[in-house]
């Protein structure tokens, strides 16, 4: 799965930063700003004092594109320090604020204090020594060699750093969204307010030294007085619009996830504009992107490798967030290098691989106990990293007033028992000449109950098991004019789902099931692939990326058993294969089913061109050949985007993209026994046609500094149309095949975000989205798709409570949902799910002794009762209940 995201084809990076005017001796200095125009693996600041070597520190991503770090107090020694900022992307490194030759200067002295400076000779060099006015003048180092009488150089007027011939359209790295094992290793310091100097690789030291040859006296003076920080609230170092992406993903960093009081991935996704999350009767989490909901249309990746199961496209993605560095959410088609499955959205989970060790444990309501650990260490050219999550819960047992079992009219309860194990280990070897090699593997195992049951009856003893194994091998090498990379991957998923279609001791007239009516599904799927790509810097501000990918996926085992007689609905006794049922792996003539295997060959090419400083154009094309039951089918995915930055801090974007959507094997070939318990479920349809999504998006983003703080605003308008949409609409009440909506479905809407950060610990954020989705194959008065909230709003505030405590408060709002009306049965099986509002409150400590953090989390603190839509709302009128109030405590330790 080739997944080199936006950054790999994006223009160069810039760092919007307001340099501090002055620093105080012995006090740490915070450096912060916003990155635009690329996907970074690291953002480093090089600092030195007079006549010192450069020392490197790392800035840390806080949220979105916002980076921050603090120079330690030990670094803040009068008279001054100078610094410049370097961004590391997949394609290489580039100066994004200042440079070794023209760094930014920060005088160090008490605020308002005048400094007296004098040039003195130290050895063969003349250096400047400063003291605060009123102190003794600094001594000469060489009393026998007094400083020549030189006039004080005139301080240059404040000005912005001149636009420099920055590297043109450097190939970008798209680490976090790539399916590749890992982007360049992020040599970050431990998270925390204070940066620690990361020992730069030897090659980087050499590069830094090469970039800053020993300065002559004159050069050093010019560097000192020329690197004045310009005035202004916000400045753009490189004014070209080529730095700003035409896509606008949402990124939730580890720090942001912590502030939002979420424990699992889907809780975090609920707080993203344009994304709606719900659970179904079986307990599966479902994501709707911009009003459209279907598992095969949202691509989930973990460190760039697909998580979606080949058969039914469900993803074991409800992972704890503790080991995640970030979650990236793209709405609509991402760039052309993103693989198949990205139709309405892409969600990439990126795990932490920063050096150090971190672990945490938590417990709470519902007999919930979690443990998490992640860490990495570097030994020479080798880096080893790993993470592990163990999570178990009994869950809340919520009342279900009525279900499809009319023989039992008593109240029933949900069962939300779950055990999850997620473990990974990997290593990276960096060789100067040969490039970087990486290998990693991961195991995911889940054992849970069905939340309610398989279809419309509460079956409390269902057992659903899911085992996933992933492995990746990768190589990449940075060239002078770009980068090459090759990746190979493998994944295998097995599911064993034993459903209780009725509870035990079920009877209905002459029919009796002491163990309950049962149905067992066992599937095994496997996939492997290889990809290669190159990113090249071309003349005239062009960045070209091209790649090829080959992949094979297959269902290697399939089994379905039932104890229900399809003719009489009676009890067969033991589970057995229904007579005459054709599994997806069978063609009925002894051969492989046409949907059981899928070979995909893909090529992509993208180019980003910056013809003017304020305009950047991105174009891409993806071509896929996909093996489908109807034959080898081509898919085209053009992309085009334009970014304009008419003024500082304002970026205007527009883009168009098309995604190819192949039906899943389940949609093609799902087979179910035609017994009375399955009436109304969906079966495969080999006649399905592929679908296309065309998406248009336009938006604006504005960043404004407010003293120490900053305000960020973002707005987006979108329009999406899916041609030949694959849908499940019950038209008969019997086993109904998946079908295409020939006239398609479409959605239109708005998304807005605002974020105000007043201090490092005082934040306010708000986002809202509105969507209007329609099924165009339905008469006009019945066209609206209303099973997903049309209006969503989320907001939060983080407040410091003294030096050690923080209070986070998060609210979620959603509008009313009602049944769709695409068929008569949908029309008469009505439901109304009222709008809901839930609130989260969290108390957490600042790091104690730099290593320990404590947290107390309350979710849905007002115990708001709300539910999601059920498969048969006429039989389960109360819907699928969502959790009530919860309380968790957590302790974290990091080294």
């Amino acid at each position: 799965m080739l997944l080199a995201g936006v950054a790999s084809a994006q223009p160069r990076v810039s760092f919007i930063h307001n340099p501090p005017a002055q620093g105080r001796p012995g006090e740490p200095l915070t450096l912060e700003g916003e990155v635009s125009g690329g996907e970074l693996t690291a953002l480093s600041v090089y600092v030195r004092g007079p006549s010192e070597d450069w020392e490197r520190f790392e800035l840390e991503l806080q949220y979105g594109d916002y980076w921050r770090g603090t120079l330690p107090a030990s670094r803040m020694v009068p008279p001054w320090v100078v610094y410049y900022v370097v961004a590391t992307t997949r394609a290489g490194r580039s100066d994004v604020f200042g440079s070794a030759n023209r760094p930014v200067r920060v005088d160090i002295g008490a605020q308002g204090t005048k400094l007296k400076c004098k040039r003195v000779k130290k050895g063969k060099k003349w250096v400047q020594r400063c003291v605060e006015a009123g102190d003794d003048p600094p001594p000469s180092v060489e009393p026998d060699d007094p400083a020549p009488a030189e006039p004080e150089p005139e301080p240059e007027p404040e000005r912005e750093p001149e636009p420099r011939p920055a590297p043109k359209s450097e190939p970008r790295a798209a680490p976090e969204r790539e399916p590749e094992p890992e982007p360049q290793p992020v040599q970050k310091a431990e998270p925390g307010p204070e940066l620690r100097a990361a020992p730069p690789p030897r090659s980087e030291v050499k590069a830094a030294q090469a970039a800053s040859p020993p300065a002559s006296e004159l050069e050093e003076e010019l560097a000192l007085y020329g690197a004045e920080a310009a005035g202004g609230v916000v400045q753009r170092v490189a004014e070209s619009a080529g730095e700003v992406s035409s896509l606008a993903p949402s990124v939730l960093t580890a720090a942001e996830l912590k502030r939002r009081g979420v424990r699992f991935v889907y809780e975090a996704l609920e707080l993203v504009p344009g994304v709606s999350v719900s659970r179904d009767m079986q307990g599966n989490w479902r994501v709707a992107m911009r009003g459209l909901r279907a598992d095969p249309e949202v691509l989930f990746t973990l460190n760039g490798q697909r998580l979606n199961n080949f058969y039914d496209a469900k993803a074991l993605a409800n992972l704890p967030v503790d080991n995640l560095e970030r979650i990236e959410i793209f709405r609509g088609p991402a760039t052309a290098d993103v693989g198949l499955g990205n139709v309405t959205g892409l969600i990439n989970l990126v795990t932490r691989r920063d050096v150090g060790f971190r672990d945490s444990g938590s417990g709470g309501r519902g007999m919930s106990f979690d443990g998490h650990a992640n860490g990495a260490f570097v030994a020479g050219p080798v880096k080893v990293f790993g993470d592990v999550d163990v999570s178990s819960q009994e869950g809340q047992q919520l009342t279900v007033l009525r279900d499809g079992d009319t023989t039992d009219t008593g109240a029933k309860r949900t069962t939300d028992r779950r055990f999850l194990l997620n473990a990974s280990l990997g290593a990276e070897l960096s060789l100067d000449q040969l490039g970087t090699f990486e290998a990693s593997g991961r195991v995911l195992y889940e054992d849970r109950s069905a939340l309610l049951g398989l279809f419309d009856v509460v079956g409390p003893d269902s057992r659903l098991q899911w085992l996933t194994g992933q492995a990746q091998l990768g190589w990449r090498k940075t060239l002078d004019a770009g980068q090459l990379s090759v990746r190979a991957w493998f994944d295998q998923q097995t599911t064993d789902r034993l459903w209780q279609q009725t509870p035990s001791s079920y009877t209905d007239g002459a029919i009796s099931f002491p163990d309950g009516a049962q149905e067992q599904h066992r599937f095994g799927v496997r996939g492997f692939g290889v990809s290669g790509r190159g990113d090249f810097k071309l003349p005239f501000n062009n960045l070209l990326s091209a790649g090829v990918q080959l992949e094979h996926q297959s269902i290697f085992s399939a089994e379905l058993r039932s104890n229900v007689d399809t003719a009489t609905n009676g009890n067969l006794g033991a589970l057995q294969a229904p007579v005459g049922l054709r599994l997806p792996t069978e063609d009925g003539a002894g051969g492989r089913g046409p949907a059981a295997d899928r070979f995909t060959g893909s090529v992509f090419v993208t180019d980003t061109w910056t013809p003017l400083d304020v305009v950047s154009v991105h174009a891409g094309l993806r071509f896929d050949l996909v093996q489908l039951p109807g034959g080898v089918t081509p898919g085209f995915g053009p992309r085009i985007g334009v970014t304009v930055t008419p003024i500082k801090s304002l970026a205007l974007r527009a883009n168009y993209g098309r995604s190819f959507r192949a039906p899943s094997p389940r949609e093609y070939a799902e087979a179910l026994p035609a017994n009375g318990f399955n009436a109304g479920r969906f079966i495969g349809n080999l006649s399905l046609q592929p679908a296309y999504l065309d998406a248009v998006e336009a938006g604006a983003e504005y960043v404004q500094g407010l003293g120490e703080g900053r305000l960020r605003l973002r707005g987006t308008f979108f329009f999406e149309r899916m041609t030949n949409a694959v849908v499940e609409i019950d038209t008969t009440g019997n086993l109904t095949p998946f079908s295409n909506r020939l006239l398609g479905v479409q959605s239109i809407g708005l998304e807005g975000e605002a974020r105000l950060e007043l201090t490092q610990r005082l934040h306010v954020w708000l986002n809202a989205s509105w969507v209007r989705a329609e099924d165009l194959s339905t008469p006009a008065q019945s066209r609206l798709l209303t099973d997903v909230p049309q209006l969503r709003a989320n907001g939060g505030v983080t407040l410091p409570l003294g030096p050690w405590l923080n209070l986070d408060f998060v609210a979620r709002f959603a509008s009313e949902r009602r049944n769709n009306t695409r068929s008569v049965l949908e029309l008469i099986r009505r439901y109304t799910l009222p709008g809901y509002a839930t609130f989260t409150a969290q108390l957490r400590t600042e790091p104690i002794f730099d290593h320990v953090e404590l947290l107390l989390l309350g979710q849905n603190v007002f115990n708001f009762e709300y539910a999601d839509d059920a498969t048969r709302p006429d039989r389960v009128p109360g819907g699928v209940p969502r959790d009530g109030w919860s309380l968790f405590g957590q302790a974290k330790v990091s080294f």
Binding site: E816, R818, R822, S823, V824, I828, F862, F864
Partner: protein
């Protein structure tokens, strides 16, 4: 607190969300007239009158199924529609009686609520008889007050080609005393399928064994059955009936509107439904 939150949320989010009209059927123009109920007649849609007597709309729906297959290579010789497929309850309004006058497409689609596909199947003499025996199996005798019972939806309304006589005093399974299709008697015992087969049009719901028509489900996969789905009007029975009405004289004037044909099924010793 929850109530307050609900009210505030609803107030804040109201006005920006839109929803479908749940009382409108799934037709482009619900108010379009498709036919007239004939002057001086009424259309009864309660269960006794759709499941225990000749029903005007059920008969027209069956005639429409014959019409949609005409001219093709699988013409139907007769058609049946299950009485349970005619619904009085509608989407939001229950209609037990529709008086003389226009019948709109919207109301028609509320009555014929289940959008089943129209199919034709070849049956033998015995299978045809078995179908009609099953149809009248659960009819009530003359002494029963139909207002106190709920007749089964398996009872079949028939097209004009059918002349059926039933006697509710006879035991179930032997109630059909006379059966003619297109003027030709269906003998009992019947002839082999290869000798004489009957092409019957009905809904896929029945052909798949709905309402207990197991003999149809058993037959459909067999040789010579030639199960074919209607291609016109999406193959959907309610759409076919609307189209049939619109091109017929029933849509011309109220005087020429449709009404029940009492001669298609003759009931002996059977309960008679009253006016709803």
């Amino acid at each position: 607190m929850r109530t307050w939150i609900s009210l505030v949320t609803a107030a804040a989010l109201a006005g920006c969300a839109a929803y479908n009209d749940q009382c409108q059927p799934l037709v482009e123009d619900p108010n379009e007239r498709v036919a007239f109920v004939a002057t001086g007649t009424e259309l009864f849609l309660d269960r006794p009158n759709t499941r225990h007597a000749n029903n005007a709309l059920g008969q027209q729906a069956a005639d429409a199924l014959v019409w949609v297959f005409s001219g093709g290579n699988q013409e139907a010789e007769f058609a049946v529609v299950n009485g349970g497929g005619l619904r009085a309850e509608g989407l939001c309004v229950t209609r037990n009686i529709i008086g003389a006058g226009p019948l709109t497409d919207g109301v028609l689609h509320e009555i014929m609520l289940f959008a089943n596909f129209a199919q034709v199947i070849r049956l033998s003499d015995d299978e045809v008889r078995a179908v009609f025996e099953h149809s009248v199996r659960e009819l009530f005798g003359a002494a029963v007050d139909l207002k106190t019972v709920s007749p089964d939806g398996q009872f079949l309304q028939v097209s004009r080609e059918v002349q059926l006589t039933v006697d509710c005093a006879l035991p179930p399974g032997a109630r059909v005393t006379s059966l003619h299709l297109g003027g030709e008697e269906v003998p009992s015992p019947g002839r082999p399928l290869e000798t004489r087969s009957w092409r019957m049009a009905t809904s896929d719901y029945l052909i798949n064994g709905g309402d207990g028509y197991q003999m149809l489900e058993d037959a459909k996969e067999g040789p010579l059955r030639s199960v074919t789905t209607a291609q016109r009007f999406g193959g959907v029975d309610s759409n076919i009936t609307a189209a049939y009405f619109k091109q017929s004289t029933y849509n011309s004037t109220e005087a020429e509107g449709f009404q029940v044909d009492p001669g298609r099924i003759t009931f002996n010793n059977c309960a008679v439904p009253a006016r709803p």
